[in-house]
């Protein structure tokens, strides 16, 4: 059986490239209010792609994007990289169960996952650098990301149309 063509392989890189671009854009100075309304781009993209189409979201990509998030967010290097890696592994394992899931269930599970990831990051930051942001701010960050999920999901559906179909 012939493997994927180069064109197909390039198309499979599209979600990763979009995530990278969105991550960089999210770090631009755009604050209108002094409230962080920027969602956690990498985790949202992980939720959208790792469970729907795992080959587009390999563990190495997840780790590298997490590492870049660590750098841009100012969190200890390795913390978001590890959390994104574990989230990807978890979602890959859940792919069979969630592949036919209804949107509202998918959103509910995404909210739970985001809450867990934000809490773990908050704990990890406190353990490594001893300065934790207030719990309220961490919860706000998770909430903002949760509200953005439908937007990212719709965008992901658009990107999925451009990808090679899986057999």
């Amino acid at each position: 059986m012939a493997g994927p063509t180069l064109y197909d392989q390039l198309r499979l890189m599209l979600p990763g490239l979009v995530a990278l671009l969105l991550l960089l854009v999210s770090a631009l100075p755009m604050a209108v209010l002094d409230v962080a309304l920027t969602p956690h781009v990498v985790w949202l993209m992980t939720l959208c792609f790792a469970s729907i189409y795992p080959p587009t979201w390999p563990v190495t990509l997840a780790f590298m994007l997490g590492l870049l998030s660590d750098f841009l967010y100012g969190t200890p290097l390795g913390s978001q990289a590890l959390l994104t890696l574990f989230a990807t592994l978890f979602l890959h394992a859940q792919a069979r169960r969630t592949s036919h899931q209804l949107f509202h269930l998918r959103w509910f599970e995404a909210v739970l996952t985001l809450a867990v990831l934000h809490t773990l990051l908050w704990l990890l930051v406190g353990f490594v650098v001893e300065f934790r942001p207030p719990v309220k701010q961490m919860a706000l960050g998770a909430l903002v990301s949760a509200f953005w999920y439908p937007v990212f999901f719709l965008g992901a559906q658009g990107i999925l149309r451009l990808l090679p179909a899986r057999g």
Partner: protein, 296 residues
């Protein structure tokens, strides 16, 4: 949204190949190593961050162009619409400033004379580097700005950073042409301050939510709300007298200070570059030794 349009068949061969397991194990090991190095604040990690800063600079500058352009467009449109009102306000301000100019000239002459009389030795001459903000931290986990000036422009670690309103933060990571500024509102930020009128000293720390908190107050005296807060030269890291904000409210943990404007909204900042102390300083203070390098 109903069912998804694209459902992909997932392989039933659940087991991952051995090579992927090795990759995962290596990535976990790399992540843990980075965390341990972060915990011990290893210099290698700081160098890595600095290199990443420099690597990302061209990309961030390129991507920020449309954002900067649209910001300018919005600002200039607003300015055009408010021209008449702005003109009237400026006329009034001009009259007030003329009055204060004459007062300042008289005070300066008096100050010069007194300094000469006391043989006052000036503390230090400072100059500024003006830089553009090209990035900011997108979450509340850390509050930072990335600016397009680094070692090559004369920036070094812990130098204070101001904007047109007052103190913004300090440079914490300095690359060749890029630096990262920790905002005062970051939970790890600590700055010595003094109250404008009451003269109580305190340490100002970030509350993590855009506000600042006063701790280690030098006296138990009540601080009135609205009291201005300025920097002190204690520790010799930040010049004294730079405006920070005003006392905003009191809660169970003490006083909260509101910056003069949201710190993350700075577009251009100035990094205060201290010059080395002179061996035999002149007995009279030099007149406003400000030199500024403005980066595009």
């Amino acid at each position: 949204m109903g069912r998804e349009r694209y459902n992909y068949q997932v392989s039933r061969a659940g087991a991952k190949p051995a090579s992927q397991r090795i990759v995962v194990a290596l990535l976990v090991l790399a992540g843990l190593t980075l965390l341990v190095l972060s915990r011990t604040q290893h210099p290698t990690l700081l160098n890595l961050r600095v290199h990443m800063l420099d690597m990302l600079r061209p990309v961030m500058t390129l991507i920020s162009q449309p954002v900067t352009a649209s910001r300018k467009l919005v600002t200039s449109t607003g300015e055009v619409l408010d021209t008449a009102e702005e003109n009237r306000r400026l006329r009034g301000e001009n009259e007030t400033l003329r009055h204060w100019q004459s007062v300042a000239q008289a005070l300066k002459a008096e100050n010069d004379a007194l300094r000469k009389l006391m043989q006052y030795q000036p503390v230090e001459a400072v100059s500024y580097i003006t830089a553009r903000v090209i990035g900011q931290s997108p979450s509340s986990f850390g509050q930072f700005l990335t600016v397009n000036a680094g070692k090559a422009e004369g920036v070094s670690e812990f130098q204070p950073v101001i904007d047109s309103f007052g103190l913004v933060g300090r440079a914490v990571e300095v690359g060749e042409h890029t630096s990262r500024v920790m905002l005062l509102s970051d939970v790890a930020s600590r700055v010595p301050v003094i109250m404008g009128h009451g003269r109580q000293r305190a340490i100002l720390s970030g509350a993590g939510n855009g506000l600042l908190r006063l701790s280690f107050l030098s006296s138990e005296e009540e601080i009135p709300l609205g009291e201005p807060v300025v920097t002190t030269q204690e520790g010799d890291l930040i010049p004294g007298g730079i405006k920070v904000g005003s006392v905003f409210k009191r809660d169970g943990n003490g006083y909260l200070v509101k910056p003069l404007r949201p710190l993350s909204q700075a577009e251009y900042i100035r990094i205060i570059v201290s010059k080395p102390r002179v061996a035999n300083p002149p007995s009279v203070a030099p007149t406003a030794p400000l030199s500024a390098t403005i980066l595009p």
